[in-house]
């Protein structure tokens, strides 16, 4: 029963281990798939990659979903789920436009900050209801999804924000490039790096995983579960809020139906990226790559001659494929461990 025979190479060379685990990781697999898709698309149509515009769209299109998916991944890692991110995005996107209309000359950074803050506030409501109300996140955020969406519908009515309502300097942010990388992509990547670092290398980040892995054990450990769950929701909301501002900058027009259905896309991206739906495992990197995969496939379908109507079907098939694969891998791992133990 002891582990001696089970793991002969205990303290394996750490760099070798890093290389091996990188090769075996879900993130690497998805990046490979994305690269293959880009290659296929480019072989059909050179401009997919090799024109300035193609390159820009390749990077720009997934950026906003990436930001939302990172937030959703953090929430899912704590064994919760946030269905209200699409509605949150709509609120802050519309708010962005409204601010420019109602407060002429408002500095852009103030708008961005307000977007993030309002998103965080809406996330806080979710988090508090889940953590203090002891109500399952699925139900709470289903409710707040209706409420937030209803709020933005009431607020906006049939009004819509047009490009001409927002200052050109703000709209430029939506398409601006720095060293050929779009600004929005840089924002998304920064968010990703910070969130990734936090989750992997700080105590509070690791506690997110612990809570999602086994909430009961987390309580026994004395981890501050309530606080952490609320933080996860605040973060998810804040990122959806930021995504709302990015949405306004990128699309230039905002109506109350912005972000409709994004909650499922964000969850789908996270699941495809290897974030387990019941928490405890996966990375924001995976979720971000999942978002890139989803959006890139969308753009590729018409190029390879598949009507883009099939796009949702492909998304669904990918999600199912990802969870079946996860299941298969975990069963196989269990069986291997079992066999190793039997031999011991």
């Amino acid at each position: 029963m002891t582990a001696e025979t089970l793991t002969p190479a205990k303290r394996e060379n750490s760099s070798m281990r890093a290389v091996r685990s990188l090769l075996a990781s879900r993130e690497t697999a998805i990046v490979l798939v994305i690269l293959v898709i880009i290659a296929v698309a480019t072989s059909f149509n050179q401009s997919f990659l090799f024109t300035g515009q193609g390159w820009r769209d390749l990077l720009l299109t997934p950026s906003i979903l990436m930001v939302v998916a990172v937030g959703s991944a953090v929430v899912i890692i704590t064994r919760n789920v946030d269905l209200s991110v699409g509605s949150t995005l709509a609120i802050t996107a519309y708010m962005t436009g409204r601010l420019f209309v109602d407060v002429p000359g408002i500095p852009i950074f103030v708008v961005v900050l307000l977007g993030i803050l309002v998103g965080a506030g809406l996330g806080l409501i979710n988090g508090a209801l889940v953590a203090f109300g002891k109500v399952p996140a699925l139900v709470v955020t289903l409710g707040t999804m209706y409420i937030y969406r209803g709020a933005v519908l009431t607020w906006a009515g049939s009004d819509r924000i047009n490009a001409s309502d927002m200052p050109g300097s703000f709209l430029n942010l939506g398409t601006m490039q720095i060293l050929s990388i779009p600004l929005l992509t840089i924002v998304a990547v920064l968010v990703l790096i910070v969130a990734g670092y936090w989750l992997s290398s700080t105590r509070s980040g690791r506690e997110m995983y612990a809570i999602g892995s086994d909430p009961e054990a987390a309580k026994l450990y004395g981890l501050p579960t309530t606080k952490r769950v609320i933080i996860a929701f605040i973060l998810g909301g804040a990122l959806a809020g930021l995504a709302g501002v990015m949405y306004a900058a990128r699309y230039g027009t905002v109506s109350s139906s912005a972000g409709m259905g994004w909650e499922f896309d964000a969850i789908g991206a996270a699941v495809i990226g290897g974030v387990a739906i019941f928490g405890g495992s996966g990375t924001v990197w995976g979720a971000a790559f999942g978002a890139i995969l989803l959006m890139t496939i969308n753009r590729t379908l018409p190029i390879v001659g598949i009507p883009d109507f099939w796009q949702r079907a492909v998304v669904g098939a990918l999600i199912i494929g990802a969870i079946v694969l996860d299941r298969y891998l975990s069963v196989r791992r269990h069986r291997k461990l079992q066999e190793a133990r039997d031999k011991a």
Binding site: K134, V135, V139, V140, P307, I320, I323
Partner: protein, 404 residues
């Protein structure tokens, strides 16, 4: 001679042998009938429904008009239909988010078969239901046999089925449906204001009420929702039961899709988008516990009707869909929050009434700081949930339930 009587003879035997005591008898219920009837989540929602109905009738212009009941019932017929099997799914502790997509797929299938290929409505309807069954089989197989979490599976099939529906037709709509059937779908029963669709809906309601409340299968569903392991130890075929519930949702969603197609004379890939959330809202409003194990058909019907009445009344008042959304959302949050609030208030009252015990220097004789049967305490026993298993059973214990 039944098992029960045999048990009785043996019981009296055993008791006589052992102590000569008289065998104990038990009351059937520990609460009087009125308590059981009126103090329940279901009754609460029914009362709310009646209240809203009365308010709407008295203060909303035209609500008492002749068309209201007809349109209201037609509007919520798909919701009511799908809510029935969804209740079964949620009672087993699972969820099916793909119902609206299945419904959309069904309208597309009917459209293609009838309008494009010229099959009759009954035949295309039958084939559409078959497609719905297949959708359910796929969900059910992944959940019950591959043991994947239903939330993730059905988020996937939500996209997949919708994607197939939209993929098949693009954004074109097929509208050339047999007029006779369309008229039938929107006709009323005789001279009444009740739409004819209510006949199959009521039949479905009866079937599901019996299935859930009066069959061993239904009893098994509750067991699975409470404690899947215990259900398996009792001989409940867990996987087959779960599979059945998903097939039922698939089939009924497809049937609802056929009605939808005929009523609106319209087959489109994006028909009924978002209905899944409304169905789930209706089911949860109706007192079904999201973790499984609790709920009843009459509550769910009241939940669906409440959504219908509210929407209808508010629309008549000129309130747009947004406010209706807010109200549904608020109701949903409040309905799940109520038990926690009630328990919190109780605990607070007890804490205020007793001395502040459990602080730094708890006197040895101080009163219990917490209510002795507070569920939160029982829940804090360390116990390990299997990694793939939802936190449901553990959490459900922490949500004080309002079972009578």
């Amino acid at each position: 001679m039944t098992a029960a009587t045999r048990a009785q003879t043996r019981a009296s035997h055993g008791a006589a042998e052992r102590s000569g005591d008289e065998a104990r008898t038990y009351a059937a219920y520990h609460r009087p009938w009125w308590f059981r009837t009126f103090i329940s989540a279901e009754f609460l929602i029914i009362a709310l429904l009646v209240l809203v109905w009365i308010i709407a009738t008295t203060s909303v212009d035209n609500f008492s008009g002749p068309l209201t009941v007809r349109y209201l019932l037609m509007d919520i017929a798909p919701l009511m239909m799908i809510a029935l099997p969804m209740t079964l799914v949620i009672i087993t502790g699972q969820i099916d988010l793909s119902v609206a997509s299945t419904m959309g797929l069904s309208t597309v299938v009917v459209g293609i078969l009838h309008v494009q290929m010229g099959l009759s409505i009954p035949l295309s309807g039958l084939l559409a239901i078959l497609v719905g069954v297949l959708c359910g089989v796929f969900n059910g197989f992944l959940v019950a046999y591959v043991k994947l979490p239903s939330l993730a599976v059905t988020i996937g099939t939500l996209a997949l089925y919708r994607g197939i529906a939209v993929g098949l037709l693009g954004t074109t709509a097929l509208t050339d449906f047999d007029q006779g059937w369309s008229d039938l779908a929107t006709s009323s029963i005789g001279e009444s204001r009740i739409p004819a669709i209510m006949i199959p809906v009521v039949i479905l309601i009866l079937i599901f009420a019996v299935l859930l409340h009066f069959t061993p299968f239904g009893r098994g569903l509750y067991d699975i929702g409470h404690n899947e392991q215990a259900a398996r130890f009792s001989g409940v075929n867990v996987a087959r039961s779960q599979m059945t519930t998903f097939i039922l949702t698939g089939a009924v969603s497809a049937a609802a899709g056929i009605f939808y197609t005929l009523r609106f004379g319209n087959s489109r890939g994006d028909n009924a988008t978002g209905l899944e959330l409304e169905v789930i809202a209706a089911v949860l409003l109706g007192g079904v516990l999201i973790f499984g194990g609790r709920g009843a058909i009459h509550g769910v019907l009241a939940g669906a009707l409440l959504i219908g009445v509210l929407s209808s009344a508010l629309r008549l008042e000129g309130v747009t869909v947004n406010v209706i959304n807010i109200i549904i959302g608020l109701l949903l949050v409040i309905s799940v929050l109520t038990p926690t609030l009630v328990a919190g208030a109780q605990r607070l009252r007890e804490r205020l009434s007793g001395p502040a015990a459990g602080q730094d220097s708890a006197p040895p004789t101080s009163e219990p700081p917490e209510s002795p049967d507070s569920p939160a305490q029982q829940n804090s026993t360390p116990h390990k949930t299997a990694p793939h298993h939802e936190s449901a059973p553990a959490d459900s214990a922490s949500t004080p339930t309002a079972t009578p």
